[in-house]
């Protein structure tokens, strides 16, 4: 029992260490705006004919969505579409992917999170698709 408790405490401390590195970065909503519109919106529009505007969800809904990290109803992940690997795969056709080819994944994720939070239905500047 004591061992389990100690182990849990150790794991929590470790996780805190990981999340701290993410929290230290202050998302750049303008960079997030460019990636969201040029990659996310552009692909959604061409693939499904419907792009999700930031103002279609509340801040809490966006936070939950990004936390869950489930894209296409869980078929894949959101982070996958933000990864360097994905950007490299589309950069020949997508200027935003090319522009941000070397941007660290976590930074870009925080940028997008900052943009959708700001542009959410109840955000500081609700944002449409364009």
């Amino acid at each position: 029992m004591t061992f389990a408790r100690t182990l849990t405490a150790a794991a929590a401390l470790a996780l805190l260490g990981v999340s701290f590195s993410a929290q230290a970065y202050d998302g750049d909503w303008k960079r997030g705006r460019v990636y969201y519109r040029s990659v996310c919106t552009s692909c959604h529009t061409s693939q499904s004919g419907h792009a999700f505007a930031p103002n279609e969800k509340t801040k809490a809904e966006w936070a939950a969505y990004l936390q869950a990290d489930k894209h296409a109803k869980g078929k894949d992940t959101v982070k996958q579409y933000i990864s360097k690997q994905y950007r490299a795969s589309i950069k020949a056709q997508n200027k935003a992917a090319e522009k941000f080819a070397d941007t660290p994944d976590q930074e870009l994720f925080e940028d997008i999170k900052a943009f959708v939070t700001k542009g959410a239905k109840d955000g500081d500047s609700p944002a449409g698709c364009s």
Binding site: T2, F3, T6, L7, A9, A10, A11, L13, A14, L15, G17, V18, S21, A22, A24, Y25, D26, D28, W29, K30, R33, V34, R37, S38, K84, K95, A96, E98, K99, P104, D105, Q106, E107, E110, K118, D124, S125, S130
Partner: protein
């Protein structure tokens, strides 16, 4: 005891190791340098002055000035601060403090509303003290959060408590966290400049036609320089600013720039915001013939084929004479077109809006003369120019420029024969937008300017020129040759130029054909003589 010791040793290794795994994990995830701020070399959140609670705009400025000691004094010397510009050519005192336009007309007695776009705090009437340093608003230009907003009606202050904005909309605007915003200041961006310049005339894209919110993050097709995934210019990339004084002026534009491309460090090179400041005067390397065009045609004429093409409509005309009509319920009303644009408002009259608008073209040498308060005007079918642009094919300093020409019908004094400055905005018993009484509103606005008003009101046609210079298209989308060299040319009506395929002059065409025929005949005769002569040998 030994087992317990071993257990703690194991956990200690785990505790020490897991963050390492975490770090490695995140490193592996990204293979990347640690995150870093990119828009400033200073993390302002680390400065003690900005860690205390900042309650008001002037509080923020005081904190800024404790380090940036000269900044306010620099701002005080600019037209952004005084809204005043003395045209050295004709000594006209211009700037928003003095001019009229045919949009919302003027700032007189509308100060708390218009000065929501002033780089200062507290300009609520004509007695504003322009010498107070803490009245300078640093955040208007240096906010990076996008959360710093200055609603109309607060004389340039942000909201300090929750307010309904716009009044009557039911939308509650929360006061911004000034401390947090001050901790994140950075360089100016398209968003900061655009928070005012995109919304001139009272709404998105209303005034300029080539500046609207679509320029905040445009694609290449909309603006090849500002393309957010390409060159990503900010406004300041061209309007290269020194000591807070932003170059470029609509009161005295640079219509022709004979300087070569600017060289860094060289002084006296002129306006850095012209096309030539980067591209020089012979930019067409592959098609030198086009450089000859550039001697008389402004770059913008070909490279800005249309304006308002980012999906935001611009106002093309505004008829104040129809204002005042109420709905069947006796209340103020608005009418919208199929796209949802307001085309009639009880408070303002009728509007015509345009998207993807082809400019009109005029010879322009940069000289502009304004019709100011007190200047005599005559009502007629010919529109009174709010600003007269000068230029001709013969003066040696004019170019053919694209223009947005804003057309209006606005109130004037038919007895004194002057344009007027009405008090429009405000929740008082004078402002036109609430009371719909021109006489009272104009009397108040004119009294504020110490200008005479007869008490009579009529309406007069006006027009105002806006040179078009933003929304530069990629070269493949520039105006094509055939759009000018054709009977229905874009440049039809422009005097002093001969455009093949458009400017048909019978005698000149005949002369050309005769010259061609004579040349052909000469070649044939010469060839025939040579053949005959060679046979004789």
């Amino acid at each position: 005891m030994n087992r317990q010791l071993a257990r703690w040793a194991f956990c200690a290794i785990l505790v020490a190791g897991l963050p390492g795994v975490g770090v490695l994990g995140s490193a592996a995830l990204a293979d990347e340098a640690p995150p870093v701020k990119l828009n400033s070399t200073a993390d302002h959140s680390k400065f003690k002055e900005l860690q205390k609670k900042l309650e008001s705009g002037p509080d923020v400025t005081r904190a800024c000035l404790s380090c940036h000691t000269e900044a306010a004094k620099q701002v005080h010397r600019t037209k952004h601060w005084k809204w005043e510009f003395l045209n050295p050519q004709n000594n006209q005192k211009l700037g928003k403090q003095h001019v009229l336009n045919n949009f919302c007309i003027s700032i007189s007695q509308n100060y708390p509303f218009c000065t929501g776009c002033h780089v200062g705090y507290g300009w609520k009437d004509k007695n504003f003290d322009f010498t107070v340093e803490e009245n300078v608003d640093c955040l208007a230009c240096h906010d990076t959060t996008g959360n710093y907003k200055k609603p109309a009606g607060l004389a340039g202050h942000p909201a300090y408590k929750p307010i309904e904005s716009p009044p009557g909309s039911g939308k509650i605007l929360q006061p911004p966290d000034l401390t947090k915003i001050a901790q994140k200041v950075g360089k100016t961006t398209r968003d900061t400049c655009g928070s005012c310049h995109f919304y001139g005339g009272g709404g998105d894209g209303v005034k300029h036609g080539d500046l609207d919110s679509s320029m905040a993050a445009p694609d290449k097709e909309l603006d090849v320089h500002m393309d957010a995934t390409g060159l990503d210019f900010t406004c300041g990339t061209c309007h290269s600013t020194s000591s807070h004084d932003v170059p470029g002026s609509r009161y005295k534009p640079t219509a022709i720039d004979k300087h070569d491309a600017h060289i860094r460090g060289k002084v006296g090179q002129g306006n850095p915001a012209t096309c030539q400041a980067c591209h020089g005067n012979t930019p067409h390397k592959e098609h030198p013939r086009l450089n000859a065009h550039a001697e008389k045609i402004a770059c913008q004429t070909c490279h800005v084929p249309t304006f308002a093409r980012g999906g935001v409509a611009t106002k093309m005309s505004w008829d104040w004479s129809t204002a005042g009509r109420k709905g069947p319920d006796g209340k103020h009303m608005t009418k919208k077109d199929a796209k949802g644009h307001v085309i009639y408002d009880t408070r303002k009259g009728d509007f015509v809006l345009g998207e993807n608008v082809k400019p009109e073209y005029r010879w322009f040498n940069g000289d502009i003369t304004y019709t100011l308060l007190g200047d005599k005007v005559e009502k007629s079918d010919i529109a009174t120019p709010i600003n007269r642009i000068a230029g001709s094919p013969a003066d040696g300093r004019s170019m053919i420029w694209p223009m947005k020409i804003m057309r209006g019908v606005q109130p004037f004094d038919p007895v004194n024969k002057t344009l007027v400055m009405p008090h429009t905005a405000g929740n008082d018993d004078i402002g036109y937008w609430k009371n719909l009484e021109w006489e009272k509103a104009i009397a108040d606005g004119m009294k504020n300017m110490d200008a005479p008003f007869s008490g009579k009101v009529d309406f007069i046609k006006t027009e105002m020129y806006w040179p078009i210079t933003h929304m530069v298209a990629p070269k493949e989308n520039a105006v094509a040759c055939a759009e000018c060299h054709t009977a229905d040319s874009r440049l039809k009506g422009i005097s002093g130029i001969y455009m093949p395929s458009h400017s048909n002059k019978g005698w000149l065409d005949l002369l050309g054909w005769l010259a061609a025929a004579a040349t052909l005949a000469g070649v044939l005769v010469h060839g025939a003589i040579r053949i005959v002569m060679s046979r004789r040998k």
